[in-house]
Amino acid sequence: MTGAGAATVAEICVVACAEAWRGDGAILASPMGLIPALGARLAQLTFEPDLLLTDGEATLLAPADGQPPADGQPPGADRVSEGWLPYRGVFTMLAAGKRHVMMGASQLDQFGNQNISCIGDWARPKAQLLGVCGAPGSTVNHPVSYWIPRHSRRVLVDQVDMVSGVGYDRAAGLSGRAATFHELRQVVTNLAVLDFAGPDHSMRLRSVHPGVSVSDVAEATGFLLAAPYQVPETRLPSPAELALIREHLDPEGRREQEAG
């Protein structure tokens, strides 16, 4: 995997996911899915070194000495345990607002209402999915972003069947601090990066990945997408970022199975 070669879609997505945590400082980054996890680690290794990250269970891991690994160092040997965060601790960080999660979505609408519970009427689902998990609490307590590996009208829908994660239109109706704490940051897909800077906090096209047109994205989206007059291209990974992804974070190339 070593060496040059243009960045793949998966690698562009890893960097776009990393960018979602830019500026967050010392908060818990909770990535759901491999590409968000690689993105969070890339951010921690480069421009966002204060991020807290777990091993996927209850141990917080930091880069050893705060430095990227030396060449040839075996994966795993270059991180140190810096803390303990079992699920009860994650719930505490969530409620304290010291967390930014990037979740998946089986359905996501124009205002960022997310569904991971079931497809169809909740009382008689056509397809039972995971369940709401922590989405209701996360979305009214701290920043949330989404990762959509296959951007399509099946996922980016006019209306979700069950609101697991709360969108901007619903949050606007909330009294108290829930509305203040509610913040949807970015949606990274295999085609584009989106945010909620459209009218009334609706979803807006922020950038398209190289080789993807604005009409490709519009065609794959089940609602009218706000877009600036000129849509920039998603930034490419730098050579240093590509080297970290390919040689250190995911030398087996597992990322290629999650996006494309």
Binding site: A58, Y87, C133, G134, A135, P136, V163
Partner: protein, 284 residues
């Protein structure tokens, strides 16, 4: 000190039973297997759900599941739960993860509810009309959700070590919410990988690994490999091969009948023998 049969003998149809662990991690599967075989019905199961929920549903023991998710972790969707929901064979109380925690904590504290922000704006409130709002009585007047206590008739948790009096020790990375399940329950039952003399508990881990104390517990049962096929680190990890077999067997009634005949027809000792044969590559 109890046997598995002693524990199951304390339970009745219609009870609300809480099951510790998380997803497919450190689940008290030996007790769950015995409960599934006991012929009880109309149980309400409170769980961060994994194959515990699936096995009990497959056995026809469940009326209602109270949960935030049901997952096998490495296999995202639990097949029996999924089918049962799609066939409308079970009732579901679907809560946010933190709400389940709060409901157990409220029950443990003997409070009627605890206030929480989770749920506001989401369809969790639409599908759970029993969840009521509550307004802060202080100057802020903030509106929150009153998460009702989740009292349990019985709870099962699985520990790495325990002593005969009911002190339980976890040696893995996460206590999950096992202490709260015990305190939320009228009767809590601890299964353990290995029963040790009290004086030896600290040989395996520090004092803070002693999550469960005997005041929380009605009985202890030693069930080696009793969390199988879920993970029980550091004693053993998840048996992914077996879990995949379980999940694929759920796809058809005939396959599930064969799986049941191979692994679930006898008692816990028979199960462990069949698993050992499966692991050795021989027909179960």
């Amino acid at each position: 000190m109890l046997t598995i049969a002693d524990v199951i003998g304390e339970l009745r149809s219609g009870m609300t039973i809480g099951i510790g662990g998380w997803g497919s991690r450190r689940k008290p599967m030996a007790l769950v297997r015995a409960l599934a075989a006991a012929g009880l019905t109309d149980l309400t199961i409170v769980s961060y759900g994994g194959p515990d929920v699936g096995l009990l549903i497959a056995a026809g023991a469940v009326r209602r599941v109270v949960t935030a998710f049901v997952s096998l972790d490495s296999i995202p969707l639990e097949p029996h739960f999924r089918l049962a929901r799609q066939r409308r064979a079970i009732e579901l109380t679907e809560l946010d993860e933190g709400m389940l925690h709060w409901g157990l904590l409220a029950a443990a504290y003997r409070l009627p509810f605890l206030p929480m922000r989770a749920g506001l704006g989401s369809d969790v409130l639409r599908i759970n009309p029993q969840l009521r709002p509550v307004r802060s009585p202080y100057a802020d007047g903030e509106e929150l959700v009153a998460v009702p206590a989740l009292p349990l008739d019985a709870a099962f948790v699985h520990m790495n070590r325990a002593d005969a009096r009911g002190n339980g020790q976890y040696l893995g990375p996460d206590p999950y919410f096992d202490d709260l399940y015990c305190l939320a329950a009228a009767h809590a039952y601890v299964s353990c990988e290995r029963l040790v003399p009290t004086a030896e508990l600290l040989a395996a881990g520090p004092p803070q690994s002693l999550l469960i104390n005997r005041a929380m517990v009605a009985g202890v049962v030693e069930t080696p490999n009793g969390a199988h096929f879920t993970s029980c680190v550091p004693d053993y990890g998840r048996d992914e091969t077996f879990q995949a077999r379980y999940a694929s067997a759920a796809a058809s009634a005939a396959d599930w009948a064969a799986f049941t005949a191979d692994f679930l027809a006898g008692d816990e000792a028979d199960y462990q023998t069949a698993v050992a044969r499966f692991r050795a590559g021989a027909p179960a």
